[in-house]
C-alpha cells in the first residue's frame, strides 16, 4: 500500500472514544476509530478478565501496542519496524509487493485476532463483546473498500497477528494458572519476609512469583535495572526499619482528605479498574486526543508505553521476589499496633519495590520523552469509585503522586517508592531508545 499520511494535527481522533462513525469519514478516520474501539474494549477486558492483575495487563497492553505499531509500520515507510529491536522478535511477515492494502482493514484484523487471543480466558460477557465488535468493526473497516483489497488486507493482518502471538507465547508469561497464584509455595519463615495479608484462600501464596523471569521486551533482562537492597529488617524501635514502618503508621493516622483522595484515585485495583498500566494507557489516549496525534504517532506511543510498562513489571517483580520483603500491615500489626488497618487493601505479593511507583515512573518517562517535560493535563481516567478528576503540571507530577499514593494507602514503605521510581526510569530508557522512525 502507498504510504498514507493519517490525520493531520487538525483532525481530532477518538482514541478510546467509542464506535460511532459519521458519514463521510475518511479512511484514516476509520482506522483511528477501529484502533480506539479495540483499545477501549481491551481496557474493559483488563478490568473484567479474571487473570488480569497488573503484570498480566502490562504484558497484554505491550503486545497490543506492538501489534498496532507493526500493522502500521508494515505499510508506512516513515516507520521502522521493531523486529530485531525487541527481544525475541526476529521476524515478521511483510506485505506483498504490488498488492493493494487498506490500513484500517489490516489494523482491524490484527487487533481483533490479538485481543481475541490474549483475552481468550475472559468470561461469557467479554466473549460476547469481542464477537459483537468483530462483526461490527469488520464491516465498518471494510466499508467502501474493494473486495480484493479487503481480502488481501485481512489475510495479511491475520499473518501478522499470528506472528505477534507466536512471539508472545515464548516469553514466559503466556500461561497464567490459578489466577496467578501458585498452587504450592513455601514461605520464607525468617522474620522480615512476606507473609499472606488476607484470609482469601488464593492469596495465601504470592502473586506470580516467577514473573520476574519473563523475557523482557526491550531491556536485556529482568535484573538489568537493579536497585539497592531494602533497609535491613529489624523490630528494634531504634532501627531504621522500625522508623520506616512508623512513617507509614503515623501517616495513616493523620491522612488529610486530599491524601485519601490521592490514595483512592491511584488505587487501580485488579479486577476493579483498568489496573495501573491500563490507567496510564488511558492517560496516553487522552493526550492523543488532546494533541490530535496522527495515527502513526498514536501507535508509536502505544508501543513504547506498553513496552516500558511491561518491562517495568518484569523488573519490579524480579526485585520483589529477590528481596521478599514484609508488607507494612504485617509488620505494624506485629510490632506497633495489632489493630491497625491501612486505607487500601494490601496487594498479595512482597513489598519491595512498589509496582505502581516503578511502572508509573516508566510510563511518565516515556510520555515525557514523547510529549515534553511540562505537559499539563487533567486525568479523566475512569476510577472505580467515581473519584474526581485530578490535574497535573506534568507526567512526572502524576507519577510522583501515584507513587506517594502507596504511602498514603498504607501499603508501602518509602524506600519501595523512591527506589521503585529510580528503577522505572532506568527501565524506561530501553523503551525510549527503540528506533521507531525510519
Amino acid at each position: 500500500m502507498n504510504r498514507r499520511k493519517f490525520l493531520t494535527a487538525g483532525v481530532a481522533l477518538a482514541l478510546l472514544g467509542g464506535t460511532a462513525r459519521a458519514a463521510g469519514d475518511t479512511r484514516e478516520a476509520v482506522a483511528a476509530q477501529v484502533l480506539a474501539t479495540w483499545l477501549r474494549l481491551a481496557l474493559e477486558l483488563v478490568r473484567h478478565t479474571p487473570t488480569y492483575t497488573p503484570p498480566v495487563a502490562s504484558r497484554t497492553l505491550a503486545y497490543i501496542g506492538v501489534a498496532a505499531f507493526e500493522a502500521m509500520a508494515s505499510g508506512d515507510t516513515s516507520l521502522r519496524s521493531l523486529r530485531g529491536q525487541l527481544n525475541g522478535l526476529t521476524a515478521l511477515p511483510d506485505r506483498a509487493a504490488g498488492q493493494g492494502y487498506d490500513a484500517a482493514v489490516i489494523l482491524n484484523a490484527v487487533m481483533d485476532l490479538v485481543i481475541h487471543d490474549l483475552f481468550s480466558n475472559t468470561g461469557p460477557t467479554g466473549q460476547h463483546a469481542v464477537q459483537t465488535l468483530t462483526a461490527r468493526l469488520a464491516q465498518q473497516a471494510a466499508d467502501e473498500v474493494g473486495a480484493d483489497v479487503v481480502a488481501a488486507s485481512r489475510s495479511y493482518g491475520a499473518t501478522l497477528a499470528a506472528a505477534i502471538l507466536a512471539w508472545s507465547r515464548k516469553d514466559g508469561g503466556a500461561v497464567v494458572e490459578n489466577m496467578g497464584f501458585p498452587a504450592t509455595y513455601t514461605l520464607n519463615p525468617a522474620p522480615g519476609h512476606w507473609v499472606p495479608t488476607s484470609k482469601i484462600v488464593l492469596q495465601q501464596a504470592p502473586l506470580l512469583p516467577d514473573w520476574g523471569k519473563n523475557r523482557p521486551f526491550a531491556m536485556p533482562a529482568g535484573d538489568t535495572c537493579t536497585l539497592p537492597a531494602p533497609t535491613e529488617y529489624s523490630e528494634d524501635p531504634s532501627s531504621a526499619f522500625y522508623a520506616e514502618a512508623m512513617e507509614v503508621y503515623t501517616t495513616s493516622q493523620s491522612l488529610t482528605d486530599a491524601q485519601k483522595q490521592i490514595a483512592r484515585f491511584w488505587s487501580d485495583d485488579a479486577m476493579l479498574s483498568y489496573t495501573p498500566p491500563g490507567h496510564w494507557v488511558a492517560i496516553m489516549a487522552q493526550v492523543s486526543r488532546e494533541k490530535g496525534l496522527d495515527l502513526t504517532a498514536q501507535v508509536e506511543a502505544l508501543a513504547r508505553m506498553g513496552v516500558a510498562m511491561a518491562d517495568a513489571f518484569i523488573g519490579c517483580w524480579q526485585a520483589k521476589f529477590q528481596y521478599d520483603l514484609i508488607r507494612p500491615i504485617s509488620y505494624i500489626k506485629k510490632v506497633i499496633d495489632p489493630k491497625w488497618e491501612p486505607l487500601l487493601n494490601t496487594p498479595p505479593f512482597p513489598e519491595y519495590p512498589s509496582g505502581h511507583s516503578t511502572q508509573s515512573a516508566a510510563a511518565a518517562a516515556v510520555l515525557t520523552a514523547l510529549f515534553g517535560e511540562n505537559y499539563s493535563f487533567t486525568d479523566e481516567s475512569p476510577t472505580p469509585d467515581g473519584a474526581p478528576t485530578r490535574s497535573f503540571a506534568s507526567f512526572w507530577a502524576a507519577a510522583d503522586e501515584a507513587a506517594m499514593s502507596r504511602l498514603y494507602g498504607g501499603i508501602h514503605f518509602m524506600p519501595a517508592i523512591t527506589n521503585g521510581q529510580d528503577q522505572g526510569r532506568c527501565i524506561a530508557a530501553y523503551a525510549i531508545a527503540l528506533q521507531t522512525r525510519a
Binding site: 473484567h48 497464567v176 490459578n178 488464593l202 472505580p384
Partner: protein, 520 residues
C-alpha cells in the same frame, strides 16, 4: 430499637447438638425417576438465573416445584411423592409456562390464602395470581404491576408496617442492548410499594449495581427489615454490596459509612441467612467466585458493620473439594438448613462455572457444609452423595416427601435439573412448622420462629427472597438432635410474641397467631 427477648445468647460451642458426632446424611439421586426434567437453557442472557420455587399449591402439604427454563418454558411440577417414599413429580399446565423466566418466588401477594408467584424474566417480569389447584393467571394489569423489560435476577418481599399489600424489590442485571460494552450498564433495581390493593409505579433504587440476590432482613432486630443487595462486581463501576433502609413512608436510603457500612466488592450471586453464631441476629452467607463470605454482626445492633468469618469457619467454599481441579469455584444459590437434624444449621451451595471460564473450576461440585458443634463447617457433599458436577444455579433444600428429612433440588444450566432424596437415616428429631395469621401477610413474612430446647434456642427469620433466583414458602424445618420434643414460639411481624408451647418432635405443626400449635 426492638430487641425482643433474646432469651439466651449462647455461644456456638453451647449450641452443640445432643448427638455425639456430626452425621453425614445419605442422599439418593432420584433424578432419573422423579419426573423433573427441566433444563435452564440459553446463551449469554441466561448465564445467571435458573431458580426454583418450592411451595404447596395442591393442598396436600407437600411442595410443588416451579423451575425456570431460560429459553425453554418454565415448568410447574406437581408433587406426587408418597410420604417417606421415592420422589415423584408430574409436569402440569398451570399458566406459568412462559419463556425467558430466570427465577421464581412464591408469595401470597393478595393474602387470599392461595399462593401467588413472582416470575423474574429476561424481559417483562410477571406476577401471577393463584387461582387454586395449582393454576395461575397473569395479574400485572389487575395489580398495577409494571414488569418492565429488563434482565431481572433478584427478588425480595416484605410487608411494611401498616400495609395490607406487600412491598416487592426486584433486582436487575445488565442492559441487554449494550452488547459491545455492557460493563457499567447495570439497569435499575426497583421497589414496588403498595398502592391500594396493588402496586405503585416502581421506584428506582439508585444507584444499582447488577444485583443477583436480595433479601429483606431485620439485621439488627429493630422491627423494620432492611434490604440487603448482593451485586456482581463484574459489571458495576463504582459499586459494592448494598443495604437499603426501607423505613415506612420514607424513600429508601442506603446505609452509609457513618452508620458503619463498609464497602465490599464481590461477585455477589446469592444470599443465605441464619443465626450462625447464636447472638440473636441474622448472619449472611454470600456466594461469589472463589472465596465466599460469611458475615456476622461485628459491633452490635447499632452499627451496620459486619465481619467476615468464612475463612475461620471453614465455610469459604473456595474451590472444589473433590480434588483434581484446584481452580476456584463459582457459587450461586446458598441456603442454610439442618439436613441431618442435629440442631445445627448446615449450608448448601449450588456451584457451577458461569459458562466455560477456564480460570474457574469446570468440575465444580455443589457444597454440603455440615455445621459442627464448634461453630465451624465440614464439607460432606461427596460423602452425602450430592457432589454433582453439572453447572448448578438455583436450588431448594426442602422436604419433598413429607418425612421430615430435607431433600434437595438443583437447577442446572444447559442440562437437566437434579433431585436428591434424603434417605432419612438421621437419628435426629425434627419439626416442620408453618405460620398463619389472619388478614394481610398470611404466611408471616418477617416473623421469627424460635425453638427452645433447654437453654438452647434456635431462631429463624421468615423471609421471602435471597438465594439465587428462587425461594420456598411453606414449612419451616428445624432439627432437634436427640431431643424428642421442644418448645416453640413466634415473634410475629407486628412484634407480638406467642407463648412458648411444647410440641413433640417429628411432626408438622400449624402455628396460627393467637392459637396453640396444631399438629397436622
Amino acid at each position: 430499637m426492638r430487641l425482643l427477648a433474646l432469651t439466651l445468647l449462647v455461644s456456638p460451642a453451647l449450641a452443640a447438638p445432643a448427638l455425639a458426632d456430626v452425621e453425614v446424611p445419605r442422599y439418593l439421586n432420584e433424578t432419573a425417576t422423579a419426573g423433573v426434567s427441566s433444563t435452564y437453557a440459553g446463551d449469554w442472557e441466561f448465564m445467571t438465573g435458573g431458580g426454583v420455587a418450592a411451595f404447596d399449591c395442591s393442598g396436600d402439604g407437600k411442595p410443588e416445584l416451579l423451575l425456570a427454563g431460560g429459553t425453554q418454558k418454565a415448568t410447574l411440577y406437581r408433587n406426587d411423592s408418597p410420604t417417606g417414599g421415592a420422589l415423584k413429580f408430574s409436569a402440569l399446565t398451570a399458566g406459568v409456562e412462559l419463556d425467558r423466566v430466570t427465577g421464581a418466588y412464591p408469595l401470597d401477594i393478595d393474602s387470599d390464602g392461595i399462593m401467588d408467584l413472582v416470575l423474574l424474566r429476561s424481559g417483562e417480569d410477571v406476577v401471577m395470581r393463584g387461582a387454586g389447584q395449582c393454576q395461575f393467571r397473569r395479574a400485572n394489569e389487575a395489580w398495577g404491576f409494571d414488569g418492565r423489560d429488563l434482565w431481572s435476577t433478584a427478588f425480595a418481599a416484605t410487608w411494611e408496617k401498616g400495609q395490607t399489600w406487600p412491598t416487592l424489590a426486584i433486582g436487575t442485571y445488565i442492559d441487554r442492548k449494550e452488547e459491545a460494552f455492557p460493563w457499567g450498564s447495570c439497569t435499575p433495581d426497583a421497589l414496588y410499594r403498595p398502592k391500594g390493593q396493588g402496586f405503585a409505579a416502581p421506584f428506582d433504587l439508585k444507584p444499582s449495581f447488577c444485583s443477583l440476590s436480595m433479601l429483606f432482613t431485620d439485621w439488627n432486630r429493630s422491627g423494620t427489615p432492611s434490604l440487603r443487595v448482593s451485586n456482581d462486581r463484574e459489571y458495576y463501576k463504582g459499586g459494592s454490596e448494598q443495604m437499603w433502609q426501607i423505613a415506612p413512608d420514607a424513600p429508601p436510603a442506603l446505609y452509609t459509612a457513618a452508620q458503619g457500612w463498609k464497602p465490599l466488592k464481590i461477585w455477589g450471586m446469592g444470599i443465605a441467612s441464619t443465626d450462625v453464631n447464636s447472638d440473636g441476629f441474622p448472619d449472611y452467607f454470600l456466594t461469589s467466585m472463589a472465596d465466599s463470605k460469611l458475615q456476622v454482626l461485628a459491633a452490635g445492633p447499632d452499627k451496620a458493620t459486619f465481619k467476615d468469618i468464612a475463612f475461620a469457619s471453614h465455610a469459604i467454599a473456595q474451590r472444589p473439594y473433590t480434588g483434581g481441579d484446584f481452580r476456584p469455584s463459582t457459587g450461586w444459590h446458598a441456603e442454610f438448613q439442618d439436613v441431618n437434624n442435629d440442631g445445627v444449621q448446615d449450608l448448601i451451595v449450588a456451584k457451577g462455572n458461569v459458562s466455560a471460564m477456564p480460570d474457574f473450576a469446570l468440575k465444580d461440585p455443589n457444597n454440603l457444609l455440615l455445621g459442627l458443634a464448634d461453630g465451624t463447617f465440614e464439607e460432606a457433599g461427596d460423602r452425602a452423595g450430592v457432589a454433582s458436577f453439572a453447572q448448578a444455579r438455583g436450588a431448594s433444600v426442602v422436604d419433598l416427601n413429607g418425612d421430615g428429612q430435607l431433600d434437595i433440588v438443583v437447577v442446572n444450566r444447559n442440562t437437566g435439573a437434579e433431585v436428591w432424596r434424603n434417605e432419612g437415616a438421621s437419628k435426629g428429631h425434627w419439626l416442620q412448622l408453618a405460620l398463619h395469621q389472619d388478614g394481610a401477610n398470611r404466611d408471616g413474612i418477617g416473623a421469627w420462629i424460635e425453638v427452645r430446647q433447654g437453654d438452647l434456642v434456635q431462631r429463624r427469620e421468615i423471609t421471602s427472597g435471597g438465594g439465587h433466583a428462587g425461594g420456598q414458602l411453606g414449612w419451616w424445618h428445624f432439627g432437634l438432635g436427640a431431643n424428642p420434643a421442644a418448645e416453640v414460639r413466634v415473634i410475629w411481624p407486628d412484634g407480638s410474641a406467642s407463648d412458648w408451647a411444647k410440641v413433640a418432635g417429628n411432626g408438622f405443626y400449624d402455628l396460627t397467631k393467637g392459637q396453640a400449635p396444631k399438629a397436622r
